[in-house]
């Protein structure tokens, strides 16, 4: 009597399937979220109402529960959800479907033989949203909203691995806003922040969806351009240079224009770390500044093969 009430009132879904995967129990939580009444579904195959469950992983789990008495755990991370329900938390999260943590286990008779399996469904949408937010905060720069430096290093490492494995080239552009300090000094830090935000936005709008835009330092940004060689990266840098040069930043009653210097570098086969690539781009940036600012310098940092006794003097 009490158990039946608990079964119906518990704040999680409970489904019981027999060995042929026919539904034998469907509690009130399941009724509410599926809009399928128990009388409608009991006695029918679960796949009749949820054909999308006819997958290898679902089959595997049911079989392991029925054959071994195993407990299957479906994490939200891998599966997202098992039953496509709407969440009460949908309004304030990015998820249109309820995110679920689901477990499956055996139910035995008096002789300890497994006759049924239970499926328990928990709504973890709120937790998943929170986790997502934390992840985002971890990889983004709080001021500009672009990806942060930590993420940049992580990603560059991945790209280099990919280059080593598949040979797909990529390039980076390091941008440095010219005379940024004087903007802060002349117009104040709030204006400085505004300029940074707008600057990042202008660049991002121009990049492709596969490109990554990250904040490298105070007034330095780095574009990671997959599947891009040095020449194409240089062309892109020139486009960005022009956009920034021409744009009029309006802050309160002031109008101001800025420019940026850029260093462009492409990954080369002798590079093994992100630092090596960034160093190359940095050297180019330094040269761009020396050349008068509002300039782009792009070069290949492929090291020449040394003869014994020779020193690498580098090529700038």
């Amino acid at each position: 009597m009490i158990c039946t009430q608990i079964f119906e009132m518990i704040n999680m879904g409970i489904v019981v399937l027999d060995k042929e995967l026919m539904v034998t129990k469907w509690n009130r939580w399941m009724e509410t979220h599926s809009e399928i009444r128990a009388e409608q579904i009991i006695g029918h195959s679960i796949f009749e109402f949820y054909p999308q469950l006819k997958t290898k992983w679902f089959n595997r789990s049911c079989k392991s529960v029925l054959k071994f008495g195993n407990f299957s755990f479906f994490s939200q991370k891998l599966h997202k959800y098992v039953f496509p329900f709407k969440s009460v938390y949908s309004a304030c999260t990015n998820f249109d479907t309820m995110q679920q943590s689901v477990t499956m286990g055996p139910l035995r008779d008096e002789n300890k033989q497994i006759q049924y399996l239970y499926i328990m469904v928990q709504d973890v949408t709120e937790v998943a949203a929170y986790e997502q937010k934390l992840l985002e905060m971890n990889i983004r720069d709080p001021l500009t909203g672009v990806l942060n430096r930590r993420f940049m290093f992580c990603r560059l490492k991945e790209e280099i691995e990919r280059f080593k494995r598949y040979g797909r080239s990529f390039s980076v552009i390091i941008q440095d806003i010219d005379f940024f300090k004087s903007i802060n000094d002349t117009y104040g830090h709030i204006c400085g922040d505004f300029v940074l935000k707008k600057f990042a936005q202008l660049n991002m709008e121009r990049l492709r969806s596969i490109d990554l835009y990250t904040r490298y330092g105070g007034e330095e940004f780095c574009c990671i351009l997959p599947e891009t060689d040095l020449q194409s990266a240089q062309k892109l840098a020139e486009n960005l240079r022009r956009i920034i040069e021409e744009y009029v930043f309006v802050f309160e009653t002031s109008e101001l224009r800025i420019s940026m210097s850029q260093g462009v570098a492409e990954v080369t086969p002798d590079m093994t770390t992100a630092e090596e690539l960034l160093k190359c781009a940095d050297e180019c940036l330094y040269q761009a500044k020396k050349n008068g600012r509002n300039k782009i310098v792009a070069k290949s940092c492929q090291r020449e093969k040394l003869l014994p006794g020779q020193q690498n003097r580098g090529k700038i």
């Binding site: 999308q52 997958t55 290898k56 992983w57 595997r60 789990s61 079989k63 392991s64 054959k67 071994f68 008495g69 195993n70 407990f71 299957s72 755990f73 994490s75 991370k77 891998l78 599966h79 997202k80 959800y81 477990t103 286990g105 055996p106 035995r108 300890k112």
Partner: protein, 213 residues
């Protein structure tokens, strides 16, 4: 700390070995049906150890592989202990290919590393469940499981986990090497019984043989 090897009589050790042989053999046969892929489980190696020797035992076994991920799952009941599924890191990609998984909701948003880890966890859970399940069945008992956890070798969690065994206790470590033939992926499974279960186990072994008198 010397393990109390007199805990088990010679005959009980033989019975345990045969039960393990049967359990792992039966598990292999059923696994082919459950995961639809042939996985070979070797004849199990059984050792009685002081719990203090366990970390050394685990590390020694890990040396065969350059980098591993360990799936740990506790089981509880009269028969209590931990199951460890040790899998070479990086082979998760091959495993996913073998399983030919098509889970439409997942995959796009998840980095490859996480996806591989989740697949390893799922398979680890099934393999541990198969071995522990069959042993329980033969000994006429049933267990419940805690959710599986992934631990990476040489991580903080791994060191903490190595330190968690009470050196005063004796444990039984049962090891089987598994091999997914299709891609020659090898790893091993350890079933380690808690000290508290040993008395129950001795009893269960005796009862098992009684039905064969």
């Amino acid at each position: 700390m010397n393990p109390d090897k007199s805990l088990f009589s010679e005959e009980q050790k033989d019975i345990l070995q045969e039960i393990m042989n049967i359990a792992f053999g039966n598990a292999t046969a059923d696994l082919a049906d459950v995961i639809d892929v042939y996985v070979e489980l070797s004849v199990p190696d059984i050792e009685l150890l002081g719990a203090g020797e366990l970390p050394g035992y685990i590390v020694k076994n890990l040396q065969t592989y350059s980098q591993t991920v360990i799936i740990n799952q506790r089981f509880l009941g009269d028969f209590k202990g931990s199951g460890f599924f040790v899998f070479p890191n990086g082979a998760g990609h091959d495993l996913a290919a073998i399983l030919e998984d098509s889970n439409p909701q997942c995959c796009e948003a998840i980095p490859a590393v996480s996806l591989e880890k989740e697949i390893i966890m799922e398979i680890g859970n099934i393999l541990i469940g198969a071995c522990v399940g069959k042993i329980s069945e033969l000994l006429n008992t049933s267990v419940i499981y805690s959710p599986p956890q992934a631990i990476y070798e040489k991580s903080v969690e791994f060191n903490r986990f190595l330190k968690s065994f009470d050196p005063a206790n004796t444990v039984i470590a049962m090891k089987t090497v598994f091999r997914f033939q299709q891609k020659d992926i090898k790893g091993f499974i350890l079933v380690i019984t808690d000290y508290e279960s040993i008395e129950w186990l001795k009893d269960a072994l005796d009862k098992f043989m009684e039905s064969y008198q």
